[in-house]
Symmetry: none
Subunit: 135 residues, 4 copies
Amino acid sequence: MGITLKQAQAAVQAAHDKALQMGVKMNIAVVDSGANLVAFIRMDDAWLGSLDISIRKAKTARFFDMPTGDLGKASQPGGSLYNIEHSNGGLITFPGGIPLKNSEGQIFGAIGVSGSTVEDDHAVAEAGVRALQGQ
Amino acid sequence: MGITLKQAQAAVQAAHDKALQMGVKMNIAVVDSGANLVAFIRMDDAWLGSLDISIRKAKTARFFDMPTGDLGKASQPGGSLYNIEHSNGGLITFPGGIPLKNSEGQIFGAIGVSGSTVEDDHAVAEAGVRALQGQ
Amino acid sequence: MGITLKQAQAAVQAAHDKALQMGVKMNIAVVDSGANLVAFIRMDDAWLGSLDISIRKAKTARFFDMPTGDLGKASQPGGSLYNIEHSNGGLITFPGGIPLKNSEGQIFGAIGVSGSTVEDDHAVAEAGVRALQGQ
Amino acid sequence: MGITLKQAQAAVQAAHDKALQMGVKMNIAVVDSGANLVAFIRMDDAWLGSLDISIRKAKTARFFDMPTGDLGKASQPGGSLYNIEHSNGGLITFPGGIPLKNSEGQIFGAIGVSGSTVEDDHAVAEAGVRALQGQ
């Protein structure tokens, strides 16, 4: 089954709650299995440039079914996927994008978060991932 | 004051409620005064191609501070703004995008809706506009 | 000789003065003989979507060394240049863009204006053209 | 309050004066809080390729509310934001873009300068920043 709007909004809401708790201002995006946007929010005064980055992180995580940071390890100079960022109209390969799984453990979308350090971005994205576990 | 996420979400929610009531499946987008996305949802099974259209409608409505359908009247063959759609990376000039105003009557964003007939799209967008009146 | 920044600014200033006198809010762009931007201003509260249009009008006027409105007459359905707007990354072919000539009568750039009716846009652009006559 | 054209032109003029004094040929761009262009000039014989770079620097500085050079420190190979330049249609992350603040200390736009060494670009941009301090 594909991700529903209700599920996407639950992931966004959980990530939003986590961001408020951490005191960070985030852009939060969820895409479906086709890597197409399902839900998005930009928190007040969040970096404007993170709008695009959050969506690209979600797409990148679904494009390769792995956290964006994992892909980034291989895209460095000398790495096996050097400059893969040039594909797909522009990838973002640092942390903050994570695949989302349905109750059967199948990837059915991804969440992308941007607006703070990459560690914060990843932590907020993880809150979105957890919100869908067991659903 | 710029549009807040809370206000943008209130507009999206009201439009979503209206769409459910009408039995139509919509993509709903809200942009701020800089024409940058603040909130977005795609309802289950809504047309995938309407994702991009809903965002372009919201941007177009803010770009020219008028409902998208008004602009479309002037962009027809022989009209004074023929083929204006080629500007700004692609405009959408049929109904479904409407400016959003703050409590002082100033335009501070716009809503764009796509997924059904242009009449339905416009009606759903109007529900979003009404949700912010008096706030 | 190519258009100088001083000349481009004189054209922008004259157009700006004309817009203030007419009570309209304009985006005003001047490009050189290579169709590359030399000077640009956006008046307070001018339509945001006219930013891109004013630059495209200036480019279009220089691309074909004629007022944009003249090109638009031939780009209508059934016309000899039908949908020429698809070229060059997007042309604007309604009035508001006019070539600029140096003191020897040679075209050395163009001005593009957007923000009101096409008649107003053209009138403001003409003020920019006149500012360079005899210089 | 958003940046006014008068303020944007004051920043451009101050940067232009600085460039003349330093004997460098610059492209100078100012964007508003929505990262949309407000004013631009290209000095005579300035690098043509710096036209686009100056605008991207201004946008980048506003996108992340920091000097472009600061972002560039984190986007190097192995850095936490490696290849962030692929987002937002293309960022420029070396020095020359700086946020602009209003009299209350709030960021309400940015200036971007390109045409010489990045040290010169940054120095000229700083002259634009100083012109708005206390206004």
